[in-house]
């Protein structure tokens, strides 16, 4: 508040006051401008010029206020998290109240228990009496059913009463039982008659069988009889058609036989279709084989009587289709399974919960990939192990299909991953791209999970699957003689390796983009030529650090810290004779010698600088250190570029210097490669120095004390730090 008042006073002063207070502001503006601003009291007052100047100054002030406003919004959001802490206490009170209410309700419940028991007993008795009434009425009712041919009702009633007859049939209900059974016998006879009569419609006959089955009547006998009858019928039919065949002209195939063949073929096609439909309901391979065997045995039977229908050929063709469809179906189910494991638990990422979900998402999707693939393989092995003659004929084909399936599965998975990142193969999926290109914001956490999952697939899943395939699905394929095996683990590994590094790149881009927006607001908006004397470290520093801490916290969940690599890298940076860049530099040195004679000292000094520059943007590794430091370096580089686009007055320069000074220690805590941070920070201050009209260094002492002050302020501001 105090500061705000001061600031308002200062603002007013800057517009209205005379020499004295302007001097207090110590804003080094060009002398001509000070003169004109003061000229409001002088005789040479020119309202137009004055208004113009005022307008420019106000515009600058508005921009400053705008940045301040944005920073304040951020502060408010941090404060609101404190309110949430307060809410927690309230919630605990609420919980206590709820518990007390519950205990009271329990008391009421026990007191009413006895009465409830009594009511229930009465209710049971009433139900019992109703049942007895039903039993006594049963014979009459059954009789009525027979009269109206409502056999279904009759069976239903009888079955309902059956347990009671079994229990008490010897005593109290004997009479009832006997008369009911009499009636039921009549029902069974009627049903049988219905079944055998050819005039009845097929539905009615099917219903009769169902009813008989319900009455525990031995249906198997009936079935055999029926089948015998059917076979006789077919044979008769066949003989008859043969006879007709002889009678007719040889090239004129009799209509009836053709129709019979068509019928038989149709029958089996329909049966295969049923299986295909069942495949979509995730059938196991055993069940599939059982079904196929079943049909095959029927096919053989039919073939004996009707070889002209060429049923085995059709059947082979159809089973091929079925098995192929089964395999592709299994792979698409696997893809769905993996993608659900990935995106499923990602719905409520906030605070500590996010930590759990990111890790669990990674773990569960890892498990989904490996377990799912293994299950698929096991399932397919059942297909191969089967001794069924149809399958043995297709063994090679199945091997090929499985290999192809894995190849396609991993390619599809890779595409799916890219799509989840919003980074689709732009040309190929143009239609999808139009819908989803920037429809939804991709979550940064998900991108990290994908990066790690890709690594896992490349390094663990593929080798294991390859092993498994080599063990049980090797050799065979017709295809492999011409094109080599369908499953090429090397290609898939390459695919996922490049995918994982591009996911990291996407992650870094997403994060730096956010930081860039922040930095741009900070550096592009204010009028740096009219900057006020620095009072404290600018808010953007806090925001930047908080962003970076956020990145660190997110990355840490999934990636190893990678400090050993870092150590290794700093060593290589330190040595001037790194093997990688050596030949290159020698080449340059020799050339430069011919061009210009420079002292050896300068050369080596320069070479060091050059090499350090080369090392700033190193290859991104799958470690926390690598990612966080890349983001920090990119951010610092952005600051440098942004500063270079500005023209600063002395205060602006000092403000930047102060901010940078303050950034130094926290950044070194985040990134352990101090040399690079020092170098980049120095680049920023150098850039500011170059772009400053009047570069005078900020006094060291006040700078350190001020930065320490702000440091403690930030510490209290950033939760969990």
């Amino acid at each position: 508040m105090d500061e705000k008042a001061k600031r308002t006073r200062e603002l007013l002063a800057s517009f209205y006051s005379t020499e004295a207070s302007t001097a207090g502001r110590a804003v080094p503006v060009s002398p001509s401008r000070v003169a004109t601003l003061d000229s409001i009291n002088s005789p040479s007052f020119d309202p137009d010029v004055y208004m113009n100047l005022l307008h420019v100054e106000m515009a600058a002030e508005i921009k400053n206020l705008d940045t301040d406003l944005q920073m304040l919004v951020y502060e408010i959001t941090t404060n609101s998290s404190n309110n949430i802490v307060g809410m927690e206490a309230n919630m605990e009170q609420l919980l206590e109240k709820i518990i007390s209410v519950q205990s009271k309700s329990d008391g009421v419940d026990t007191s009413l228990f006895a009465k409830r028991e009594k009511i229930e007993k009465l209710h049971r008795t009433r139900n019992f009496l109703r049942k007895i009434q039903f039993i006594y009425d049963l014979p009459g009712r059954l009789q009525k059913c027979i009269e109206s041919e409502a056999y279904a009702d009759a069976v239903r009633f009888f079955i309902g009463a059956k347990p009671i007859f079994e229990a008490y049939g010897g005593s109290s209900f004997q009479e009832c039982k006997i008369s009911s059974e009499e009636t039921m016998k009549l029902v069974i006879e009627n049903l049988k008659g219905k079944l055998y009569s050819d005039t009845e419609p097929i539905e009615a006959r099917a219903e009769a069988v169902v009813l008989l089955k319900q009455l525990n009547f031995p249906v198997e006998d009936l079935k055999n009889k029926m089948l015998d009858k059917l076979e006789d019928f077919l044979l008769d039919f066949h003989k008859e058609s043969k006879r007709m065949d002889h009678q007719c002209l040889p090239d004129n195939i009799p209509d009836s036989e053709r129709r019979l063949i068509e019928l038989a073929q149709d029958l089996f096609t329909k049966r295969y279709e049923t299986i295909q439909q069942r495949i979509t309901e995730q059938l196991s391979s055993e069940a599939l084989m059982l079904a196929l065997r079943d049909i095959w045995s029927d096919v053989s039977l039919m073939d004996q009587v009707l070889p002209e229908a060429a049923l085995p050929v059709i059947s082979l063709e159809a089973s091929r289709g079925v098995i192929k469809k089964y395999i592709t179906g299994a792979f698409s189910a696997l893809l769905r399974y993996v993608s659900e494991a990935l995106t499923g638990p990602q719905t409520s990422p906030k605070g500590t919960e996010e930590q759990r979900t990111l890790q669990t998402a990674l773990e569960s999707s890892k498990k989904a990939v490996i377990q799912g693939s293994m299950d698929c393989l096991l399932d397919f092995r059942h297909l191969l192990d089967d001794t069924f003659e149809l399958v043995t004929k297709m063994r090679d084909l199945i091997v090929d299909w499985v290999q192809e399936g894995f190849q396609d599965f991993f390619k599809a998975l890779n595409r799916h991953f890219l799509m989840l990142c919003g980074k689709i193969d732009i040309i190929k999926n143009r239609v999808n791209a139009a819908e989803g290109f920037r429809a939804e914001k991709v979550q940064t956490g998900l991108v990290l999970v994908l990066a790690q999952l890709s690594i896992f697939i490349e390094q663990s899943a593929i080798p294991r699957i390859t092993e498994e395939i080599a063990a049980s699905f090797s050799g065979g394929g017709l295809r492999s003689y011409e094109y080599g095996p369908a499953f090429v683990p090397g290609e898939i590994c390459r695919l996922f390796r490049s995918a994982s590094s591009s996911f990291l790149q996407i992650y870094i881009t997403m994060r730096t983009q956010k930081i860039s927006t922040l930095l741009k607001k900070r550096f592009m908006a204010p009028n740096w030529i009219k900057h006020k004397e620095p009072r404290e470290v600018h808010m953007f520093v806090d925001l930047l650090l908080q962003e970076l801490h956020g990145v660190g916290a997110e990355v840490r969940q999934l990636l190893p810290s990678g400090l050993t690599q870092r150590h290794h890298r700093t060593e290589s940076t330190g040595s001037t004779n790194s093997s990688r860049s050596n030949p290159l530099r020698e080449d340059k040195i020799s050339r430069s010698n011919t061009q210009r004679a420079r002292s050896q000292l300068l050369e080596s000094h320069l070479a060091k600088l050059f090499e350090q520059k080369m090392e700033i943007f190193t290859k991104i590794e799958h470690t926390e250190e690598s990612i966080v430091s890349t983001i920090v370096k990119l951010s610092l580089k952005s600051i440098q570029e942004l500063v270079q686009l500005q023209t600063l007055n002395r205060s602006g320069y000092q403000q930047i210097q102060l901010d940078i000074e303050f950034l130094k220690n926290p950044l070194k805590e985040i990134v352990h490669d101090e040399a690079v941070i020092d170098f980049l920070l120095k680049e920023v201050t150098n850039a500011a120095h170059e772009r400053c009209l009047d570069p005078i260094l900020w006094r060291r002492r006040s700078s350190t004390s001020s930065s320490r002050q702000s440091w403690s302020r930030t510490r209290s501001r950033i939760p969990g730090k």
């Binding site: 060009s30 420019v56 193969d425 732009i426 040309i427 190929k428 143009r430 791209a433 139009a434 290109f437 920037r438 881009t509 730096t512 983009q513 860039s516 927006t517 741009k520 592009m524 009028n527 030529i529 290159l584 530099r585 080449d587 340059k588 040195i589 050339r591 430069s592 061009q595 210009r596 420079r598 300068l602 320069l606 070479a607 600088l609 050059f610 520059k613 700033i616 943007f617 990119l634 580089k637 952005s638 570029e641 023209t647 120095k682 680049e683 150098n686 850039a687 170059e690 772009r691 400053c692 009209l693």
Partner: protein
Amino acid sequence: MQGGSTGIVYGGLKYQARCIADVKADANNTSFLAGTLSLKEENEVHLIRLSPSAAELVCEGLFYHPGEIWDLASCPFDSRLFSAVFASGETNGAVIWKIPELYGQSNSHLWNNFILWWPIGKHDKVISIDEQNLFLWSLDCSRKIAEVQSQESVGVLHHLSGGAWDPHDRNTVAAFCDSSLQCWDLRTMKKTNSIELVHVRDADYNPNKQHIVATAEDETGIHLWDLRMPNFPFSELPGHAHWTWAIRHNPQYDQLILSGTDSTVNLWLTSSNNSDDSTSESQSDSPTQKMDPLLNSYTDYENSLNNSAKKNGRYAWSSREPSMFASLSYDGRVVVESVKSYLPRK
């Protein structure tokens, strides 16, 4: 092969520099203009010419210029005319100069960021862009005046940072701001098209194919767009380690693209066909598409003297000799390179 082996160096600029332009109208020589950026010293514009033997760069003219030079553009039909965007303290404006004498001050608007010439041939209009406005100037060379013909404010929300004039349609200009690339019709001064894009640094029309625009962005690299389908780019290139500052199609070989960041200039080969949907579809299936598009990377030169010595991503193709380009370091070194060895066979 590292850049520099073919590079011809010009070390005549005394101060830091940010802009270089090809002198298009000079049919007899390969020449460039470069302007310095110094806060305290007097700034200069150098007219640099490649000697006929193509062995060295010669300073053909040196002109003092008031204020720092932030952008330069040479008139495409008169080699003596060029425009400069300058800043001096708080004032900021654009001037059109005639070599060797002062031609005339076109305007002195605050925050004038950019001047565009109609890229090919004679046209008496010039466009200037400042943060919130688009101006179309009518230029009268004989009377040495320029008048605002029409003007359009794009609104406070957009801070225009640059633009490109469509070489295929002199009524269309593309301007870009922080969040989008917008196409304007100069007859109606209305926005006709816009591409949502974050942090655009530069854009360039393909001089040989209509509707094709390349954009350079801060974080996301380089995208190639067909303006008829503004929802998604048809191709992308990975860009640089840091911001991609500038992007230019080669004036003749339109598959070649140069892009620059603070320490490197990259030469890219883009897929040859893109304007036609069906062909690009079929191309994407062919394995050759996976070819690395980066042809060469011209990096820092070792004999720069201090830390700030680096390319600032500013460069210009020579329109007279399309296999040559000049690049400019922030410390004021101009290097002319040949890309002959990378030219696609026609």
